[in-house]
Amino acid sequence: MPARTSTESSDAVGVRPAPERSATRTRFDRLLVLVVLLALWVALALTLERGTYWVGSPWGVASRLGSDIWGGIWRGLGFLAGPAWVDSVLGAMTRPANAAQGGEIFIHASYTLFEALAGFLLGAIPAAALPFLLRRLPIVTAVIDPFMVGGYGAPKLALAPLFILWFGIGIESKIALVAITVFFIVYFSALAGVRALDAKLVQMAQVMGASERAVARHIVFPGAVPYIFTGLRIAMPYSIGGAVIAELISANRGLGYLIQLGANNFDTTAVFVALVATTCIVFVGNWSVNVAERWLLRWRPPADLRAEAEGRP
């Protein structure tokens, strides 16, 4: 085994360096990168001519986002606790400048989130159910297969203007767009899950006297859930992306609308604020799917054991 030097590429080729040696160093490096990126942002904003047009102002983003969020929280607390909060010492001290507003970002974010979530459920639930319903009718599955493949391959997001034409510029068009995008993705994952059925488990259940319905409920469905989750995880970013795209084209509310509004006003800072909010929603979405999966699939052996069982390295 050749000795390791700094130019040795065995590190980069995937043989990981000894963990104890570099965990702290990695964390330091990553922190350093973050600092460098932020410093770069500030530097560009300050030194470029009309820097804030190009990169927005970092402090502008921070302050607007911060005050908007705090404004929202302040108003929320006021709404919940009434005068008890508004007239209290802390409440009066932290009262935002424009108390009637504040929290705008939450309102728009909630519109986008609602569109994404409603569309997600509207698309995912039938898509997951369909392979189960068609389980005993393989001919029907075979008949619709090319249409499903076509629907999956067709660019649904490119249909956004069509949906806006049909449902107007309100949330319905966004929900419909997200739903149809999510549907095809989850359908194929659920189909794979139903097909991956272990025949031996079905036989075992039948020998023990399980009815067709019991087999579907206790064997087919739990076995398919991991596959469905893969589909959900893939579909989640598409649901938010779809909502935002439709909002970019035509809307009067939502984060996409805010982005477009900011751009139309040449207010780069506003665009960045909305972008940050959008990215946050994506992370929250990812996190939710992960949490749900970890709880629902806690019976799964850890990934390396699974890989071993399937014969992968």
Binding site: K200, L201, Q203, M204, A205, Q206, V207, M208, G209, A210, S211, A214, H218, I219, P222, G223, V225, L297, R298, W299, R300, P301, L305
Partner: protein, 265 residues
């Protein structure tokens, strides 16, 4: 005990369907006949590939037969028509397969209770019975574990009591201890004997291990190679309760072993 056998297999035959353009496939099983009495522990020995699993599949009604009959409790069971098959013969025939086939998404306890649940027999009494079985095989404390958290031997035990818990009159066992190490295997054989002693079910136990067949069975059948039929039958006169660990020291063991060994060739 009635003289009428509980389960009777006559002239059973099996071949797999011909593929297009090939010759007629060979018979896997042909002219196989035997009977099992109520409360008997029957072991069947056969070399690998002799169709042991196929035989059990046919008895358990998860596979069709190409010929012959199967009679259970003096009634003919459907064997030829795939649509008429009744897996497990309405829970009269239990089947402990080679792989443990535990449901990975259920805990040990949930797995053991599974047949009771689908049969609608889940109540105080059956739950208590399940708990007793779990403790009897040493799985107490592991009720909330998922299958991937259990060792191979533990999963085997869970799979075993999962069939025992709903008390089918006949239990088929397909080399249940084959994949385990010698110590665990002996331990499980003893556990099985102890449990069987409590209820004296009818058991058909298939194995390739001659010593195991002698140690456990009241009677042993030897399967010939394909086309498989019964090559020999041996009464095992060793009185119960038996010393599983020291079975090889019993005077009757050696002659039995030699006789069976000769037939297995």
């Amino acid at each position: 005990m009635t003289a009428e056998p509980l389960l009777e297999v006559s002239d059973l035959a099996k071949r797999f369907a011909a593929r297009a353009g090939r010759d007629a496939p060979p018979w896997v099983i042909q002219g196989l006949s035997f009977a099992v009495k109520d409360g008997e522990f029957l072991t069947i020995i056969g070399p690998s590939g002799s169709g042991k699993t196929t035989l059990l599949n046919m008895i358990a009604q998860i596979d069709t037969a190409s010929g012959g009959t199967v009679r259970f409790q003096s009634q003919s069971a459907p064997v030829g028509d795939p649509k008429a098959l009744n897996p497990g013969l309405s829970c009269k025939i239990g089947y402990v397969t080679q792989e443990d086939n535990l449901l990975p998404w259920r805990t040990t306890l949930q797995n053991v209770l599974f047949p009771l649940k689908v049969q609608g027999r889940l109540n105080e009494k059956t739950r208590a019975h399940a708990d007793a079985l779990i403790r009897a095989v040493g799985l107490g404390g592991f009720e909330r574990h998922y299958p991937h958290e259990l060792s191979g031997g533990m999963r085997k035990r869970a799979s075993l009591i999962r069939t025992l818990v709903y008390d089918p009159p006949v239990i088929l066992m397909d080399e249940p201890f084959g994949a385990l190490d010698a110590q665990t295997r002996t331990q499980l054989q003893e556990d099985l004997m102890r449990l069987w002693d409590l209820g004296r079910k009818t058991i058909i136990f298939v194995t390739h291990d001659i010593a195991e067949a002698i140690a456990l069975g009241d009677r042993t059948l030897v399967l010939s190679r394909a086309p498989a039929s019964i090559a020999g039958e041996h009464e095992i006169g060793i009185p119960r309760p038996r010393d599983i660990r020291g079975i090889m020291t019993h005077p009757d063991f050696s002659p039995l072993y030699q006789a069976i060994r000769a037939q297995v060739q």
